[in-house]
């Protein structure tokens, strides 16, 4: 009986694996494109994982059926009742055959599906449902296996918890075999003597327990994952290495930003930036305080960076010039580019705020740097706001020239 169960289980796992093999052959021509699809990869990995779980569970089942207790009590009972497990195994086989049937049936409408370009997560409908079917079949198999194992364990725990020692006639309590012991395929503590090796190192003895099946199959699984990983990235070249990954991420980001900008009022650049007013200036001041004071001073008096309140500008002082300076920076002069940190709108706000600083003449102002900038030279900006500032600037120029003379 034991051998029949064993061979049945083997046959069962073969049957379960079969659809996967046929499937692999089927899809071979399109493999390269499929493997680059994350959904496909996920589903295939799930299928493999479930498959391994099935193999592991069959193995546990096998171990259970081989255990002495099972053989004594359960198998005989089973045999009398025309084998429950045989039924289940037949049922499972039927399921897995159904999978193949499904494959045969759905193979016909494949073309139609592809033509319609009906896709789920980038996969054509057929592939998607095929993979899902496999997963469902495997899950059912796992469910059944799980119930079988549970059944065995249950019957085992009902087992006698006390035994009578033959020599002394004493009644001894037998430790219950826990689920952990079963998962590990450990030998009962009472029977340890049978697997005790004749090793003795300073009193330390060694048992020769089985490798825990989950550990062993887990190890195989990680090796399999390793091999698939290397094939995917370095032999088939279907996975993206860091270079391609980066290029794709950048392209994707560009599309997203463009999409957003289309609908956003944020679309300001150095060609169309205008002097802002009111609350925008206050907002500009806040951003200035958070980011600019370290180099340009609290009041724009300068420090590491140039004075922003005088009429002298290294890179010209129009609103568009200031915007450009902040946006792109002047690497050679130590002005950093802020375009990755601040939005165009924010840059426009700071630029506007900086323009309002003109002529405020704060204490400890840094010596002027660059050339005198006069607003009238700037053709784009000639509205009245700037004329006011301009007169202030002129006053400042006089003062500055005085300081320089001093």
């Amino acid at each position: 009986m034991n051998h029949t169960v064993k061979s049945k289980l083997k046959w069962l796992s073969c049957m379960l694996a079969l659809p996967a093999i046929t499937f692999a052959q089927d899809t071979e021509p399109a493999t390269s494109s499929y493997f680059s699809n994350p959904l496909f990869d996920t589903l295939v990995v799930a299928i493999l994982l479930l498959m391994i779980l099935i193999v592991a569970m069959s193995n546990v089942l096998k171990n259970l059926t081989q255990s002495e207790y099972f053989q004594k009590k359960y198998i005989t009972k089973l045999e009398d009742q025309s084998s429950n497990s045989t039924k289940i195994i037949a049922l499972l086989a039927m399921f897995s055959l159904m999978g193949e049937q499904l494959l045969a049936q759905t193979a016909v409408p494949v073309k139609a599906v592809v033509i319609d370009d009906w896709r789920i997560g980038g996969l054509d409908g057929f592939t998607f449902y095929f993979l899902i079917t496999l997963i469902v079949i495997e899950s059912i198999a796992i469910f059944i296996l799980f119930n079988l194992i549970k059944g065995f364990i249950k019957s085992d725990t009902i087992a006698v918890k006390t035994v009578v020692d033959k020599t002394t006639g004493e009644i001894k309590v037998v430790t219950k075999k826990t689920i952990i012991d079963k998962l590990n395929a450990s030998v009962d503590i009472e029977k340890e003597g049978e697997i005790m090796l004749d090793h003795d190192y300073d009193g330390i003895k060694e048992l020769d327990n089985n490798l825990p099946p989950w550990w062993k199959y887990g190890f195989y699984l990680t090796i399999l994952i390793g091999v698939i990983y290397l094939i995917n990235f370095h032999i088939l070249g279907t996975g993206d290495l860091q270079g391609e990954e980066y290029t794709k991420a950048m392209a994707q980001a560009k599309i997203e930003i463009e999409e957003f900008m289309k609908t956003s009022a944020n679309n300001v650049d150095e060609t169309n930036v205008k002097m802002l007013e009111g609350a925008e200036i206050t907002a500009g001041k806040e951003i200035y305080t958070a980011n600019c004071v370290a180099c340009h001073g609290k009041l724009g008096e300068g420090g590491v960076g140039p004075n922003l309140t005088d009429a002298y500008w290294i890179h010209s002082g129009g609103i568009a010039d200031i915007f450009k300076t902040i946006k792109y920076g002047w690497a050679d002069k130590g002005m950093k580019s802020w375009k990755e940190d601040l939005s165009p709108k924010q840059i426009a706000q700071i630029s506007s705020y900086i323009k309002t600083l003109a002529g405020t003449n704060p204490p400890n102002g840094k010596t002027p740097q660059g050339d005198i900038y006069s607003e009238s030279d700037n053709k784009i900006l000639s509205d009245s706001t700037f004329l006011v500032i301009d007169s202030l600037t002129l006053k400042k120029i006089k003062k500055d020239s005085l300081t320089i003379i001093k």
Partner: protein, 710 residues
Amino acid sequence: MELEKFKYDNQIVKMFSIATVLWGIVGMLVGVIVAIQMFVPALSFDIPYTSFGRLRPLHTNAVIFAFVGNGIFMGVYYSLQRLVKARMFSDMLGRIHFWGWQLIIVLAALSLLMGYTTGKEYAELEWPIDILITLVWVVFGWNMFGTIIKRRERHLYVAIWFYIATFVTVAMLHITNSMEIPVSLTKSYSWYAGVQDALVQWWYGHNAVAFFLTTPYLGLMYYFIPKAANRPVYSYRLSIIHFWALIFLYIWAGPHHLLYTAVPDWAQSLGVVFSVMLIAPSWGGMINGLLTLRGAWDKVREDVVLKFMVVAVTAYGMATFEGPMLSLKSVSAIAHYTDWIVAHVHVGALGWNGFLTFGILYFLIPKMYRTKLYSQKLANTHFWIGTLGILIYAVPMYWAGFMQSSMWKDFTPEGQLKWQFLDTVTKMIPFYAARSIGGTLYLVGAIIMAFNLYKTAKAGSFLADEDAEAMALTNNYKGHSTDHWHRWIERKPIQLMIVSLVVVIIGGVIEIVPTFLVKSNIPTIASVKPYTPLELEGRDIYIREGCYVCHSQMIRPFRSETARYGEYSKAGEFVYDHPFQWGSKRTGPDLAREGGKYPDSWHYNHMLEPNSMSPGSIMPTYSWLLDDDLDVSTLKAKIKAMQTLGVPYPEGYADIAEIDLNKQAEKIAANLKKDGIETSPKKEIIAMIAYLQRMGTDIKKTSVADTLKK
């Protein structure tokens, strides 16, 4: 066969155990100090010797090599004698080993505080100490093999396989990674540069974890858990498979520290897959340890020794599962450079190494002093306070790491980075504070233990020479046909050592050698030139101050990094970097393209008072760079050493290098003067600025501003 009487040497075990406790407390104390410095930067006292960049390497070295190192020797000297039924080969070698190791620790501590460092993490010690380490390590190996050779036990127990693998592999790693060319007694340059240096360093760094923190401790676990629980080892088969698989696979995993860097893709992939394959072999140790306790769990509830050991083995299991997960590229992309990694290593260090050491100490001391532990209650307090400490340490760090990484990667819909780097730093402060509390608790626990052990020793009487007897081995031993095949090598220590060495060499050779031989692995870039003499001196200051502890120099190919720091780093950019300075943590921002980002005066002010330029910064001040004169006495030797290493300075350049150095220094001083800063061009800060302004500029794209001008 005759029964031989002999004595175990407990004295040497006692010496190492005292050193373990002492250095453990010192190492943890320094750890607590640096943890507090991270949110109270003023605690660096504005002097070089107590600045974070010097104290952190002191902390890591003290904990790894002083605390765990002495712990290994304590456990090995105790267990080896008993496992082979022989006294240590030579009492004298044992004493030389002990005092030699303590000398190394003291020299290491002093030299790290002085700023003598190679700038390679966990291998910071300068060449004279490296040589000393090699010699003392050989003494250890000699003593160990001597003992094994004159053993009275035919077969070697699994613990000893681990000791032997530890001995050969650490020797190989230490020697290969410490290849450096001396410039003076206190300064050397790594033999390797850039990508190669990174690969060698992390091959070493990763396997220092494997073969200094893991394999010897697995060996100790295999002795002390069955002893303390009085249970047989769960599975001999499992020992064999997990031992060989572990030492073979571990070696390959080094490049997982370098994912998404300029290291070739194939090397990164090997690092990934071998890390994944490492889960089962690592867990083999945990399973064998925990299942050995099968049937003894009632004892675990009572016995504090076992309690410590169970938590240790569990922490080992968690850390060795997390490691492979962190090695997946998508996870590494999030966790690398953050405090997540700090949390990960501390689960290993505090949980696995710390707790196993404590368990062993609580087991050994009462035994050697022939008495009961002074207070079970205090030991239990230590257990709980330590466990709590680990939790309060790790949880905030995991949280902090994940949070900071997410902030680094955040973009606004307009496509700008959502957070300035500094914003992400100030958000970390509460977590840093919490972590220091966890660390303090752990330290308090260790102090309670020291007191408890001291009281125990006081109450007992020490047994320096413990009587033992065993049958002598006969020479005409033949194996039984029924023996497991592996029994053969267990009788052959030398063969075991050689096979281990071969097994651990394979991975390293396959991963490292091609980067030397195959040019395509490191594409050269024509515009990358050697450092000027002043920049070279500045770079040495950067190394001396341990800047790499907090700043990386490796921009990964992510949108969030190229947006923040500029073009991602290329392998060819580092060909003159002896040693490489990619770093492994970003407490501060990446500096790979720092050059030209800010004016010279920004750096001057920033070093004097980081908060003036970056309000809220947690960087300590480096004001001594502004006061101290640059020492150019070794410049000539430095240039010559660089030439030996293949850096293409023109012939005879060493003689005129100082002229170039002075010219460049004058320029920077003049530049500073323009911004109102008066300083002598002779100061160290000038060299530092020169180096900072050079970083990453060789291939910097012509700035957008320049393009606009056209």
